[in-house]
């Protein structure tokens, strides 16, 4: 199938939902017990929308990103759930089928592009590598002219000069490398782009530039994007929806404007309160306590443990309003209010 045909078939099968994640679980088996790094996460995202998943280090956000790509490595394993993209549950596929889905349907913009590019390979070959592997195997090799054209187009889309094609990663700045990573991720017009802290190593001005490029490409492809990060500012600027993770669980998910204006879960509330702003000086309020340890975490509310309370039973996932859900715990609901 050529790229063009594929793109049209993609929009034809477009049911509105880009990705549907149901009760996804990623467990790490350790000598001390099971670590539930992702503990029953569910969310769905419409085609063409942007969602951010935020949380502290250890909240499971990067583990979740890897699981969406089915790149979870031992001792981690996907312990259950569904990841449905284009009507297909990715977790049902065998290894080879899944390999072909990556880049084609779901693509990753990795954290720290500096380490994800091959240092001894020219940029043009890295851009073509995925394309070769996925569509032009065997007989119909691309002609030299086609190659040059494709590379130039990809580079152009991420605002890089054609000359970059002949360069090696060490000759590029951090921002340029991240752009190359974005070019690779979008080279096959995926339905879903998973961006794992794509700009955490960049300066603010460069970050803004790179994010604008990523956003423009995503809109052009009408792809859904899942942005993993800890920078609430970036989330507020970039996404349509936000999911807040705590101790491997999604505690709140909703439209960015609603969640920032009236967060419903106490953890989200404190997270937003603890952010310094440029508009007014205020007393610093950190979030008290320490993030929960995921080892043998009890069923009940994880945030209660942080503030020295307890809820023994599993807490429900409830709808507040359209698109806005929280893990509702009666014990800590009004904490920090």
């Amino acid at each position: 199938m050529t790229t063009k045909q594929k793109a049209s078939s993609k929009s034809a099968s477009n049911s509105g939902i880009g990705i549907d994640v149901k009760d996804l679980k990623v467990h790490y088996d350790t000598p001390d017990g099971v670590v539930k790094a992702v503990d029953g996460v569910s969310f769905s995202l419409r085609q063409g929308e942007r969602m951010a998943l935020v949380g502290e280090s250890g909240s499971g956000k990067s583990t979740l990103a890897m699981a969406l790509m089915r790149l979870t490595r031992a001792p981690g394993r996907i312990a259950g759930g569904q990841v449905i993209v284009g009507g297909q549950d990715m977790l049902d596929l065998d290894e080879e089928e899944m390999r072909l889905q990556r880049l084609n349907e779901v693509a990753l913009v990795p954290q720290g592009a500096m380490n994800s590019l091959n240092p001894v390979m020219k940029i043009k070959n890295q851009l073509l590598d995925g394309l070769y592997d996925h569509q032009v195997r065997g007989d119909d090799k691309m002609s030299k002219e086609d190659q040059i054209q494709v590379v130039e187009k990809l580079l152009n889309a991420v605002d890089l000069a054609p000359g970059v094609a002949e360069m090696y990663p060490h000759e590029l700045s951090g921002g340029m490398k991240q752009r190359v990573a974005i070019a690779i991720a979008t080279s096959m017009q995926p339905r879903i782009i998973v961006a794992d802290e794509p700009t955490s190593a960049l300066d603010v001005v460069v970050q803004r530039n790179v994010m604008q490029t990523l956003g423009r490409l995503q809109e052009g492809l009408h792809a859904s994007i899942i942005l993993i990060g800890h920078d609430m500012g970036l989330v507020a600027q970039f996404s349509d929806h936000v999911g807040v993770m705590y101790a491997g669980r999604l505690v709140e998910v909703g439209p960015v404007k609603t969640v920032f204006k009236s967060p419903k879960h106490p953890y989200t509330r404190l997270l937003i309160k603890s952010l310094p702003t440029l508009s007014n000086k205020k007393e610093f309020v950190g979030i008290p306590g320490l993030p929960a340890t995921l080892l043998n975490l009890p069923e009940g509310c994880a945030f209660c443990l942080r503030i020295g309370k307890e809820t023994p039973t599993k807490i429900p996932w409830v709808k507040v309003e359209k698109d806005h859900f929280i893990q509702e715990c009666k014990t800590c609901a009004n904490y920090g209010n």
Partner: protein
């Protein structure tokens, strides 16, 4: 006006030189700043990577020496002070670095980084007094001594490790604390507690603070004055409220415009990148230049 620590037209050039094939790199270009003795403030030194902010911090700490200009401690050039004066300087000007883990020996308990400076500088008369001082310093930065002492560095969280470093600096009763990106390796939710501790040291104990950072938001929150560095040059300096709210230099404007504010209703990136870049090259620096 007496100043504890003062940089006078410091310039630091790396590379270049007689037989070098590398180009000269002016990391810090003719920058002056002073930390007032009577009215200790928090001064933020802000800039992106390559702005020269860490080099400036190293010059102020006497870890690097300026190519031209001078750094003066109590009015005396750092390169000319005696051994005993240097020792006093090492006590009175305390650094806090970016990676709190790097400052620990992983085989020693955290007690080591707290008690050894007390012993080295003979800050306490007796063991009991030393323990008392350490406890007090830990409480000052919001840590519970019983939960902190006796542990190995990896058993503490990043935020706790960095707060122990603030406590360590505090133990030596310094006049200046120079914190180079103290919170960039720490989770956002824990940043507030560390910066709050630093800010209290300034307000309650009168310690002057140089806060080196790339993050204008936290700089705005805790400092009194701010210096914006760009490619080794001081482009704008002044009262933090004025610089952040009414930035005059195009680079400062671009920087502030690029900060993703945690408010979906305030959109970032209103300035045109290319036009602003052009302006930055030609614009004169704004604010105090001593």
């Amino acid at each position: 006006m007496p100043s504890v620590l003062e940089a006078k037209n410091v310039t630091k050039v790396f590379g270049g030189g007689f037989l070098s094939r590398e180009e000269e790199n002016v990391a810090v270009n003719d920058i002056s700043m002073s930390l007032d003795q009577k009215n200790p403030k928090i001064i933020a030194v802000a800039g992106e990577s390559g702005s020269g902010k860490t080099t400036l911090a190293r010059l102020l700490l006497g870890i690097a020496s300026p190519t031209s200009g001078s750094v003066e401690y109590d009015g005396k050039d750092l390169t000319e002070i005696s051994r005993s004066e240097r020792r006093e300087f090492r006590r009175e000007v305390q650094p806090i670095f970016q990676d709190p883990y790097g400052s620990y020996n992983p085989f020693y308990k955290v007690d080591h980084v707290l008690f050894s400076p007390v012993n080295n500088f003979k800050m306490a008369e007796s063991r009991d007094e030393a323990v008392h001082m350490v406890n007090q310093a830990l409480e000052m930065v919001g840590l519970v001594p019983a939960e902190t002492l006796g542990r190995l560095p990896h058993q503490l969280s990043g935020g706790q490790r960095q707060r122990v470093m603030v406590a360590r600096a505090l133990l030596l009763k310094p006049r200046v604390i120079l914190a180079d990106e103290p919170v960039s390796a720490v989770d956002a939710s824990l940043r507030a507690t560390i910066l709050d501790a630093v800010s209290r040291l300034n307000k309650e104990l009168g310690i002057a603070v140089v806060y080196v950072t790339h993050d204008l938001t936290t700089a705005y929150q805790i400092s009194d004055e701010i210096m914006i560095l760009y490619k080794g040059n001081l482009v704008e300096a002044g009262d933090v409220e004025t610089v952040i709210k009414k930035p005059k230099h195009p680079y400062t404007q671009l920087l502030i415009d690029s900060i993703p504010e945690a408010d979906p209703n305030k959109k970032w990136g209103k300035l045109d990148m290319n036009k602003t870049q052009e302006k930055i090259v030609t614009a004169p620096s704004v604010g105090w230049r001593k």
